[in-house]
Amino acid sequence: MEAMEVDSVFYTDRSGRVTSNPLLDQLPSYQSLLYRRKSSTGGTKRRSSTRARLSSSGSGKWGVNTVNRLEEKQKGQTEQRPIRELAKTMAEKRRDKTQRLVEARELSSWRQWRQSTRRNLRRLKDDAQEWLSSLQLWRGDIHLIEGMFGTGILSYFSFLRFLVMLNMIIFLLMFSFVMLPIIMAPYSSGNTTYNQNDGSICSVYPSSARRGLVIFHEHITDLLSGGGFLEQTYLFYGYYKVDKIHFPSITYNLPLAYLLATVAYLFLSLIWIVKRSATGFKRNLVQDEDRFQSFCNKIFAGWDFCITNENAARLKRSSLLYELKTDLEEERIKQKIKDRTRKEKCRIYVIRLILNLFVIAVLAGCFYSIYVATVFSQEAQMNNTKVNFIVDLINEYLPSIVITLANFITPLLFSVIINYEDYSPAFEIRFTLMRCVFMRLTSIGVLLFSLWSQITKCKEEPCVCGYNHVLYSCWETRVGQEMYKLTVFDFIIIVAVTIFVEFPRKLIVKYCECGLAKWWGQQEFAIPQNVLEIVYGQTICWIGTFYCPMLPAICTIKYFFIFYIKKVSLMNNCRPATRPFRASSSNFFFLGVLLIGLALACLPVIVSVAQINCSQACGPFVNYTTSWEVLPTTVAQLPDGVRTLLFALSSEAFAVSFFVFTCLAMFYVIALAGAHKRVINQLRDQLAMEGRDKRFLIQKLCQAQRLSAIKSPASKSQPRSSRSSPCYHTSFSNNFNEAVFLAHPPPDSSTHV
């Protein structure tokens, strides 16, 4: 191949350094790079202005036309791009700016005005962005973390900040549509009508308030379990007994508002998450090139330029080293997999099957224990036998305890099992993570399922009121209490683990010299596990907001404190993980897991709103069979036109045609993406071919030039290779009659600025 033979295109000077061929320097592709390095021979800076040169190079028609077109296109391109995006020195950019101003004065006043408005708008946008980012919560803290630990851990903390904002917005939504009208009613002369207690057997609601002398620790039990004095407050669903509020101008239908606010917050979360993950997703889906250029990515985009701390730099270096070694190892393993014999493959598949069955068995065992714990806890609470303070608390928190234990043990188990399954290292990480995500999020589902089975289980089938009114006179409040308990317990565990496990670990490792300390090692900030923790909390929040409208506020406060706890723990106890977690894919991973959590949260809410009969003793939906029923009832009362429209929108015909349309749009977009990919591949091949063409042509040129130099050794035809003047070979056309020169002698001073 041509590339292999001695490169005749490049001259080397005496020092052995490769200097660039002057012909190559004249190529338009180099010109467009606009290097501002002083060339070692010429000494003049390259200018971007081609107009002056064009006017004085006096070339043949062919040359002028091509350059004209080229220059027009270039001018158009650079004019569209703002000056600051050009790769030039500051002095050149300023000259460009004054030149543009001069040009602008030549334009019509309309164009001038348009240009100046565009510039002002851009400045305004910059200032607004700066102001907005200065308002951002925790900007200084995150800056510090980025400098010390790099962008991987930074993405965790900015994810945490995003969740704080999301929860606050959800709370504001629920508050302004559900609680605010109730609070405002007396002040704005509103008449509230409450739900009537129709005296049936289903609407009996025994009060759970404590009577008589209340022992102090019972207050604590109530605070931790959401019962007692907390039960009849705005905290839980059961307290919202308002049916309608008659303001002077309108009637506010509270049950409808409650239902619609629930749908709205789920929708809002979905849209916000999808919007946030749009860029990361696009990049991951279309350009998952990491398999194809993992080494390039690590060498050229591997070092985090934000690192300012010496320790962090040392750690980043060792993690890069580790990554490179892992990649080399991965190459070796890929080779090994290719060389596997049939017998070995069978053996591996059998092992994998057995281990996967084992994993399923473990998961089934965990789920069953959660179910049993929930049933036990519910029965213990129903029997109301007070043994003593601690045992009562344990009974209340039994499901939370079991879930936390399961979520602690299973990741360890999975990381041990995966070693025997003999996958490639990258796949191992991803697969373990998937299993952990599944475990975490399904355990909530199992808890809710077991609650549901308890609620709809009556002594005589079928239940009189649709649910077990004897044990669960207000079942929504009970579910709300369980979610509240899960949230509180989650927070307690995070605080407890930080204080009682991580700090002592740091002290032991620092001061104790025994082998155990060395083997245990310093705490690593494991990003995936931490992310799963907060996604778990957020899923509980989404499910629980329907039953406990103030839960988002509690979660906001919880995540607020978790930020500071994690930050302190990170600074003092942790070192960054040796297995680096990359910023780009991590953003996508976080938001992907969050979306899975959201999908999982929608399911119980939908089932309980649409299927289970709402309790007749409490809550805003007393007058309806299921919570969903308020919507059809309201629609039936709307005026005719709107009603027909809504019926049309929810009819089967509309749904089917909408579905078909969406499918068509999706197929079109997929086909488009496939076509683009094909075009990209073609262009890439073309690029490679052009490169080869160029080298071939230059070699031929040099050969021809050498031949002509040998033939006519007169000084006139000596190649002036030392002058690298920045002119196009527009004057090349003049030389067709004479011998081929390598470079046209530079024209006179008019182009040399």
Partner: protein
């Protein structure tokens, strides 16, 4: 804002805003940082464009650059004389390209310059070896270094000349998802 600053004229600040990705406040802050590197050399009054350059050694010791293995190359790539002496314009230019809002194409141009150690407009194997050694502080064995460099060229080289031209580099960088977030210095 109210307080009149006398370091730059309004036109100068205007020009800086248009030519970099910084706002007025940030440019003034950058001037403060530049000044504190050498208070006796750098004048406080820049209204008449003084010609003052700071040597490489001073700039490379800034906390933002101190731990960067490519700090010398970064400063050299932005200096006009190629030796690393930066005037204030070049100083601002450097941090502007490395700021968060600079576009990918611009960053790719300068990244290419930074990694091109022998300044020959190509990333040849020696350039890659030097880059790798700076990154890992020479903790890889020579065979591993060789293997990694070969694989890198294999992955990115399109025109088959065993080195990376700017077109190869730009094409590869456009598919590196982390480039924008790692090629970024906060100041």
């Amino acid at each position: 804002m109210g307080n009149k600053q006398t370091i730059f004229t309004d036109e100068q600040l205007d020009a800086y805003q248009d030519c970099t990705f910084f706002t007025r406040k940030e440019i003034l802050r950058l001037h403060g940082r530049y000044h504190e590197l050498a208070p006796h050399l750098v004048p406080m009054d820049y209204t008449n464009d003084p010609d003052c350059k700071l040597p490489l050694a001073l700039i490379v010791n800034m906390p933002e650059l101190k731990e960067n293995p490519f700090r010398n190359r970064i400063v050299e790539s932005f200096s006009e004389d190629g030796m690393g002496n930066l005037s204030f314009n070049e100083f601002v230019d450097m941090f502007s390209v490395l700021s968060e809002t600079a576009p990918r194409e611009l960053k790719a141009i300068y990244a290419f310059k930074i990694y091109d150690f022998n300044v020959d407009n190509y990333l040849c194997k020696e350039d890659l070896e030097k880059t790798l050694n700076r990154l890992t502080k020479e903790e890889l064995t020579p065979e591993e270094v060789d293997l990694v460099c070969e694989k890198t060229i294999e992955e990115a080289d399109l025109d088959g000349d065993n080195k990376l031209s700017f077109a190869d580099f730009e094409n590869m960088i456009s598919r590196a998802p982390d480039f924008l977030s790692t090629f970024h210095i906060r100041i």
